[in-house]
């Protein structure tokens, strides 16, 4: 692997910034702590109350946010690179909508049992995975076996998202009001009340995906030049694309299961990483670091901006992500039209 110095620098800077935001986030809330106190509490020093607040209450939330941001950014970087399309991120293609529908199905059909225990930790992510996989297959078919260039895949994404939004609407209408309310809250996409049960499947997926990416990611260089060139330089383009596509779907699903649908992270983070490093494609690790930074910053802003009212992190990301999407659409139209 050839490491570009600028990529390493950006990755380190983003990771450091994410850590700093994380420490600040750990100190914010009804029981405020200074960053120094937070660091001590993380190391196990401090009053019992401080340790409880930092390690038990807030730490899993921050870790979940960071992990979800990293997972979404990775998924976005993978698909954008393989599709050679700046706009082809999993949430715009409808994968996130599929994952949401699957998760909501478990939450509403599982009833109060899905609020805790086995269903919460395993059932919801599995539902999200199945929903996202179904969405992925739909996109594959509707784009004629994965032709993801131009604006057409976005139209497919709109269609697929609408379909799954309809499924969610049905589920919400049919479910008992308490479960529907819980599902509705989940759908807004936030880190509120996220804890170890959400973090565990997400962390597990990331841990499983990391070695796969380590081995296969170098093929992205070739795939980024197109299937013809990839094949000409000896890569099994079809098999690699399917494998990395499956990885992207899994990452999107598990992140959605943990935090609800956090739209635009998979679009904004890879492009920010690409622009910062000046590379021709979003570098994977840098994108993950930027993704973690984006989610943690958004969550912190969402909590503090109108305190004591807590906004969902998804809303803050959308405020940034929406204009970014428009800018990308305009620049692409200007180039082709």
């Amino acid at each position: 692997m050839r490491w570009r110095p600028r990529t390493v620098l950006v990755t380190a800077a983003a990771a450091l910034a994410a850590a700093v935001v994380g420490v600040v986030a750990l100190g914010v809330g009804d029981f405020p702590l200074s960053p120094a106190e937070v660091v001590s509490a993380l190391q196990g020093r401090g009053t019992r109350q401080q340790l409880l607040v930092v390690q038990v209450v807030r730490l899993p939330r921050v870790l979940t946010g960071a992990a979800a941001g990293a997972a979404l950014a990775l998924a976005g970087a993978l698909v954008i690179t393989m599709a050679r399309n700046a706009l082809a991120s999993p949430d715009l293609l409808g994968i996130t909508a599929g994952g949401s529908a699957g998760a909501v199905a478990v939450i509403t059909l599982g009833g109060t049992a899905s609020a805790a225990g086995w269903l919460r930790q395993v059932g919801v992510p599995t539902g999200a995975l199945l929903g996202a996989a179904l969405a992925g297959m739909l996109v594959w078919v509707l784009t004629r076996r994965g032709h993801l260039s131009g604006v057409r895949p976005l139209l497919v994404g709109v269609g697929v998202s609408s379909f799954f939004a309809g499924v969610v609407a049905l589920l919400l209408v049919a479910a008992p009001i308490r479960d529907a309310a819980r599902a509705n809250v989940w759908l807004t996409g936030s880190l509120n009340q996220r804890s170890w049960p959400e973090l565990a499947p997400l962390a597990l997926t990331l841990a499983l995906v990391a070695p796969v990416l380590l081995v296969v990611a170098h093929r992205l260089h070739g795939l980024h030049l197109g299937t013809d060139v990839a094949r000409a330089t000896g890569t099994d383009a079809g098999a690699t694309a399917r494998l990395l596509g499956a990885v992207a779907v899994a990452l999107t699903a598990v992140a959605a299961a943990a935090c609800g649908p956090l739209g635009f992270v998979a679009l904004v983070a890879p492009h920010a990483a690409r622009l910062a490093t000046g590379a021709s494609r979003p570098p994977l690790v840098a994108s993950a670091a930027v993704g973690a930074l984006v989610v943690l910053s958004s969550d912190l802003l969402a909590r503090q901006l109108f305190a004591p009212v807590q906004l969902p992190a998804g809303a803050v990301i959308a405020v940034v992500g929406g204009p970014v999407l428009v800018a990308l659409l305009v620049s692409q139209a200007r180039r082709t039209g």
Binding site: R84, H221, D228, V229, T233, G234, T235, D236
Partner: protein
């Protein structure tokens, strides 16, 4: 002729061949129907034919970018589908038609992709890789532009960068699909001279799809004419570029005279041929 350095590619014994190749897309009419073709090793061969004759499809099938519905492609006598993908890429380089490079990709990053068949995922970027990339850039005259994004280069320079990538693979056979289309005459000569030099220095088998019959006659040692998915003529430029073949393949009436300086056939098209039923 052959350099004695260890980095020179060696000539293949058997060469590239296709047997009973049939390629049909969604259309009912196959683009290539039961086509047999043998490419002479260590030779520069040009494939000519009208639009829609299947030249690109044939080149892509020979280069394993396209899977034939029936038939086999052989490299040195072995079925290409039985050869490992990376092994194949080390022996066979393919330059597709009008390749698209992503924005901001620099020349050296593109050429470095040519080293992919020589490296596994755990391989660090070795001195050997650096040397081959440098050599490829040097031979194609792109060393000065190594850090330039491809988008900022002229068409001819871009094409040379893509050829440098193919050269970095160190293949013994090089397939090029219309490498000179969209280039002005100076850049066309640049590219063809480069390929001729590579062929002369390394003994590389070069197979190109070309439209310009003047270039074909000047640079090709062998010419294969394709029409409607079948081989119509196969021989030296003098044997293939004749009024009869041009009439049959391109549907034009033309005179062919020998070049006064270099002797190769020069085509003087007179008119589009009138069919008996027109």
């Amino acid at each position: 002729m052959d350099n004695t350095s260890s980095t020179t590619a060696t000539t293949t014994a058997g060469g590239l061949a296709g047997r009973a190749l049939t390629v049909a897309f969604d259309r009912a009419e196959p683009v290539l129907a039961d086509l047999d073709i043998t490419l002479a090793p260590a030779t520069t061969t040009a494939i000519i034919g009208p639009n829609g004759s299947g030249k690109s499809t044939l080149l892509r099938t020979l280069g394993r970018l396209q899977r034939p519905q029936r038939g086999t492609v052989l490299l040195d006598g072995a079925d290409v589908s039985s050869i490992g993908k990376r092994d194949l890429a080390r022996r066979l380089g393919v330059l597709p038609q009008a390749p698209q490079a992503p924005e901001a990709l620099t020349v050296v990053d593109l050429v470095a992709r040519g080293r992919d068949p020589h490296r596994r995922w755990y391989d660090q970027w070795a001195a050997r890789d650096e040397h081959e990339v440098h050599r490829a850039l040097e031979r194609t005259g792109m060393l000065a532009h190594a850090a330039t994004p491809l988008a900022h280069l002229s068409g001819g320079q871009r094409q040379r960068a893509w050829i440098a990538m193919a050269l970095a693979q160190q293949p013994s056979t090089l397939l090029l699909d219309e490498p000179t289309t969209h280039l002005d005459v100076a850049h066309q000569l640049d590219v063809l001279d480069l390929l001729a030099q590579v062929h002369a220095e390394d003994g590389t088998t070069v197979v190109m799809v070309l439209h310009d019959l003047g270039c074909v006659a000047r640079y090709a040692e062998r010419v294969i004419a394709l029409a409607e998915g079948a081989v119509v003529a196969d021989g030296t430029p003098g044997q293939v570029i004749t009024p009869e073949v041009l009439r049959r393949v391109f549907d034009v009436e033309a005179d062919v005279i020998p070049d006064p300086v270099e002797g190769h056939p020069v085509v003087l098209p007179r008119r589009r041929r009138r069919r008996p039923d027109e």
